[in-house]
């Protein structure tokens, strides 16, 4: 008896070649992007009203990162050191960490919800965190209180989104989850508006500028406020990155593969909420990054989250840092970076949406 075999289906050589490339060289891309982020950070230290050569900025940065006392006769003057240490470095670190966190959060959410059109701002976590933050501002709480309230708001919003989807018996249906996220996000945005309305004029002005998303006023304290949650949450997400592949197959399939779907999902929600809340607490709403960056990263290294998550993190850092450089150099009035991410993110996502739809996403 002849052995039955499956006939080869129609497979495009181009897509097979692309998969082969990403499978073989996928690790090189996040490493190269990591190096690009470091270079971009050094370059960003030179940008601003006070001109600073690249070499000098690099020397000062090396000195600040080096845990040894200052040389007796440093090649830089005190003014240059102050500009880098007090003004530019906190801002550069803040922008980079915010971008890294948003890139990772968006990728994790898209994988978890099996939908490439999801981002932290779409499932309500950003609005929830913003509401928590403005509430803390209304009561004039300390920065730690703002971050705690933003985290609480983000978690509550995510909990409400999943509970609403569960009520509609669609907690494993990504479209129902997104709709629930839109409803909950709208509610928290309205609540944020209410807080703005009842707040005194001086607080309202601060809240409005903060909500637009900006890195103005970056300092060491804010850097710690975003660095600890982003690095801790990001490291945890990195260890779970292969599990995101499994989660992206759907609940039943992931469960039969031996995954505790509920625990894994809530762990990811908690980590994403922590990262997004810390970003919102220090720099307000910076939308679209978590939606656009994972798409671009997927085009570079493919959908495997083992390579995708670090790529999206680096790309996110590069994207937000680059946009912040633009806002503080090209535009003299210092445009809030959240406005620029939305202005750039919207057409980019439209193009990506059109391109991916013309190729045909597989939907549930």
């Amino acid at each position: 008896m002849t052995e039955a075999t499956i006939e080869e289906g129609a497979i495009s050589a181009a897509s097979a070649h692309k998969v082969l490339f990403t499978q073989k060289y996928g690790w090189v891309i996040p490493l190269l992007l990591g190096a690009a982020v470091l270079l971009a950070m050094l370059a960003s230290l030179c940008i601003g009203a006070y001109p600073l050569p690249f070499g000098r900025a690099a020397q000062i940065a090396m000195h600040l990162a080096w845990p040894f006392p200052m040389p007796s006769n440093p090649p830089w003057n005190i003014k240059e050191l102050t500009v880098v240490q007090v003004i530019r470095l906190p801002r550069v670190l803040l922008a980079t960490l915010a971008g890294i966190g948003l890139g990772m959060s968006g990728t994790a959410l898209q994988g978890m919800m099996r939908n490439p059109l999801v981002g932290p701002d779409i499932v309500g976590v950003t609005s929830g965190a913003a509401f928590g933050g403005v509430l803390a501002m209304l009561f004039d709480w300390a920065p730690a209180g703002i971050i705690a309230m933003a985290f609480l708001g983000g978690m509550v919003a995510m909990f409400c989104t999943f509970s609403l989807a569960k009520l509609a018996r669609g907690e494993s249906n990504s479209m129902i989850l997104i709709l629930a996220g839109v409803f909950i996000g709208a509610f928290f945005l309205a609540a944020t508006g209410l807080v703005q309305y009842i707040a005194p004029d001086s607080v309202t002005r601060t809240i409005t500028y903060w909500l637009l998303g900006t890195f103005v006023g970056a300092d060491q304290q804010k850097v710690w406020m975003i660095a600890i949650p982003t690095l801790c949450g990001g490291t945890m997400l990195m260890t779970l990155r292969w599990r995101l592949n499994l989660l992206s197959l759907g609940d039943l399939d992931a469960k039969t593969l031996g995954i505790n779907v509920g625990v894994l999902r809530w762990s990811i929600i908690a980590l994403v909420s922590l990262i997004v809340a810390s970003q919102v607490a220090v720099s307000g709403i910076i939308g679209w990054v978590g939606l656009v960056v994972p798409h671009c990263a997927r085009m570079l290294v493919g959908p495997d989250h083992r390579r995708l998550l670090p790529t999206a993190a680096m790309l996110g850092g590069l994207f937000v840092l680059g946009l912040d450089d633009i806002t503080r150099s090209i535009v003299k009035a210092e445009l809030p970076v959240g406005v620029l991410t939305a202005l750039i993110g919207t057409p980019v996502i439209c193009i990506l949406f059109w391109k991916t739809q013309s190729k045909g996403w597989e939907h549930e």
Partner: protein, 268 residues
């Protein structure tokens, strides 16, 4: 070691109170056997599979499943364009620590599994560009690499052409007889069950079922009761071996005369 890997007693499920999909079902699935579940649409085949997989709790009765399960769904869609190797590698989930990544040994196991099914050449191709039959084999390879003892398949041949249906049935028989896996599958084709299943459960109604050896259960009377149409059981010989198959009987059609009888005239 118990010879039954799945054992259910007085099993019943209702999605709404007192709206039973089925109840009072009893059956055992023997280790290393091939077990087919047959029934018309809506009789609860997939519900019964979900209960076995632990995705649904039975409304009443008890179910015991002994052994690691792997599930092959009816339609397999992936949102993201994973490569075939990535898909098979996911079968190693139980062997990879929660905070770890798959090792080179896991990748080798995934490649060996693909080779076993003769599709190692597809390893780096995008999964969503494969044909239905190729996808089914990839999911089989994933089940095998997971080192599951029980393979549960939901209508594995439903979306396949005839050739691929035979390939899949051939693999079901091989996985059971060569690898010692217990294979449990649902189907709408009684002749597929007759061809490969050792035992069969016919889901005849809410409380009515027939369970036993395929030859004893897949009778013309039982199948008439199940589907409400006539099927003829035909014995035949092939390569010196005795086989049986089922063919539908169209009551008004005389194939020799190519004449459509009275029953078809109203449609002319």
């Amino acid at each position: 070691m118990n010879s039954n890997v799945v054992h259910f007693e007085d099993l019943g499920h209702a999605y709404r109170p007192s709206r039973w999909v089925f109840q009072n079902y009893n059956a055992q699935v023997k280790r290393g056997s091939t077990f087919a579940l047959l029934g018309p649409n809506g009789c609860g085949k997939t519900t019964l599979l979900k209960i076995m997989l632990g995705a649904l709790k039975p409304t009443k009765g008890t179910i015991k499943v002994e052994g690691r399960m792997a599930f092959v769904p009816q339609l397999f869609h992936v949102t993201f364009d994973y490569s075939v190797l990535d898909m098979v590698l996911m079968g190693r989930a139980k062997h990879v620590g929660v905070f770890s990544q798959p090792s080179a040994a896991d990748e080798e196991a995934a490649m060996a599994s693909l080779e076993r099914f003769g599709i190692a050449n597809l390893a780096l191709r995008p999964f969503h560009e494969l044909s239905g039959g190729q996808r089914q084999l990839v999911i089989f390879a994933r089940a095998l690499v997971s080192e599951a003892e029980i393979l549960i398949l939901d209508e594995p041949t439903s979306a396949l052409d005839l050739k691929n249906q035979i390939v899949v049935l051939d693999w079901i028989a091989r996985l059971s007889h060569q690898d010692g896996l217990t294979v449990l599958f649902t189907t709408h084709h009684p002749h597929h069950a007759l061809a490969v299943a050792d035992e069969v459960l016919l889901m005849l109604g809410e409380k009515a079922f027939a369970c036993g050896q395929a030859g004893d259960v897949l009778t013309e009377e039982n199948l008439h009761a199940l589907y409400g149409v006539d099927l003829k059981l035909l014995p035949f010989e092939h390569n010196g071996l005795q086989h049986e198959t089922l063919v539908p009987v169209l009551p008004h059609l005389d194939r020799k005369k190519r004449d459509f009888g009275e029953g078809y005239k109203s449609h002319a």
